[in-house]
Subunit: 138 residues, 6 copies
């Protein structure tokens, strides 16, 4: 059983503001991230998959298929986007915190995950060099 | 004569769109960066200063004064901002490409640069891990 | 359940020398790190916290509160310090190896950890680029 | 119980080609990595060991002994080598994918692992900045 | 006048052996890099171009055109290759040291460099994290 | 003409305190770095050498000879040391700021630099990830 981790990169903007909170609470909760005009990040997504090594190929996972899936399900939707304005997930009140972004990516990947890519066991999303979010799926 | 380089970090969003170009030209020139809703980056600014080493202190530049200047002139204005919407430099048609952001930062720093901080000899602005812009000032 | 990892940085000096060992044993055990005058490092501390995502804020942990806690309990005590000479933990014979530094930080954080910051599940301390120590707390 | 992770570096070349697959299957499976003349990488191996901290030394593992073991068992065999042509593991049909390299290193280390170095709990092998393989041993 | 630096990545294998040197001299000169079976690296190429910023686009260089040129002239030829066996430059006795690789890339780029991409002012080739070669062209 | 940059690593402790300044001036000038017990860093030294490429070997500089020189002149003296207490350069009032450390290393290297290693054209000393000092020698 081997775990493969692939790293993918996208750039996006977001604004942290919750319609369920007052202006004062939004300010206290999000600070500079509550700026009405938004800001942005270079995000790195780490996808970790576990699978036995195939005896003929010596590979755990067909990497081109994994890359294509992440391109289609994540990068094509998140890269060079304003998360609040352009993604259905965050248009109706769900705040695009990195926690929620990670949870939405996880939910989408779980729905369509093909067994031939092994088990999706961990997602990590780096927002800055000092800030990482992780979801342990198994 | 020693050169000191300090690295500063800010996060911001921008949209690349020139009012002097047609829609088709904007699309050809900027591609995904022309997305009307914008996107964002973790920027790193490198400030390089040259100065002789002071014989009593053994230092080339008073670093706290340099940090305070960059905080006031750059970080307080650029960090957690939407460059197109919030900075006067880019509100009236100047496109916030990283080239222009670097030139605007340079112009502002040159105007108020205090001689006691030495000579400002180079600015570098990293937009992503694979993309860096540099202005050699001397 | 999301895990947030924050990275904090401090610089410090230490000397590895155990009063329970002979001079020859100290030399064999610690090598150059036994140098009587000490040496130092740029340390990076990774703090990992697990918590459910709050439905209103979309956040797992109030980051400013976490930062304030680490500043007070760790950085204010360890940054720009000589660990052997200045911290009570290591004044009376406990050797400030990175293992012991990690254990002391863990003990201190566990004593005062406020439940509203979630569960402290992992601490990592990087001593150099090639040397990392980890304590799995849960 | 502390986990120590040490990082070791080696450079090597390999070619991915399975004698159990047809030419067309090799091409589909390995793409550019199937190039008959091979290519190469700067590999980083992370070795993670778990052990209680020794009360007299304050150390979990004698690092010089760990380094000597990895030098003898891994680096002296893999560094500056063509994996397909020079290592017995891959001369007879086992494809030197990073998965198989990791498995072979694990098998070799497990055979001769001395208890005084603690428990070998995880191996990670980085092939590029975006591609990491991991074996959880415990 | 702005300098743009773009970083490109390729993986390749090589062997350092000069037909103009004796076996003993080859061994002394290249050490482990003289291994007859070769080894490999993850290379990073930095291309630095100087150009005035275009007043309408705010850009110094059309990046897609630069990327296409480097893809065609460098990456398509060097990525996933054995430099000694597959590139005409090194088949007839020129040793594929990183110095020579850099010089060959420079010569090729200079021959076909289109003025609309600005002035090619510096090439850097990183062989490992601790080893960089640079050619200052202007 | 090629420039080779090699990176070397050492760890050391220092205290910034000038006997030519009052206590108050020392505090204002050096802040936390004036702590009487000192602190430390992981330093990285970059040595850049310019030389034509040798036609027979394809190399600009004999790297083993360069490594041996830096080991003897710099690393053996600075690694795992307390700069204030153990190095003659800083025992008699010269403050071991990174500026002065860089100047002392430069002076020592210039005295004994052998022409066969090419021209020493630049030294850089990284104190932290955000703080670099550079001396341009040519």
């Amino acid at each position: 059983m081997i775990r493969l981790t692939r790293r993918y990169h996208f750039v996006a903007s977001h604004r942290l503001h919750s319609p369920q909170l007052s202006e004062a609470e939004n300010d206290t909760t999000y600070g500079k991230c509550n700026n009405p005009f938004g800001h942005g990040h270079n995000y790195t997504l780490e996808v970790t998959v576990a699978n036995p090594v195939h005896s003929e190929t010596g590979q755990a996972v067909p990497v081109p298929a994994l890359d294509a899936l992440i391109q289609e399900q994540v990068l094509s939707r998140y890269d060079h986007r304003n998360l609040n304005e352009e993604l259905d997930e965050y248009k109706f009140g769900l705040v695009p915190t990195t926690e929620n972004v990670l949870a939405c990516i996880e939910e989408k990947l779980r729905e369509i995950w093909p067994p031939r890519l092994g088990s999706l066991v961990r997602l990590r999303l780096h927002e800055t060099a000092n800030n990482t979010f992780e979801s342990t799926l198994s």
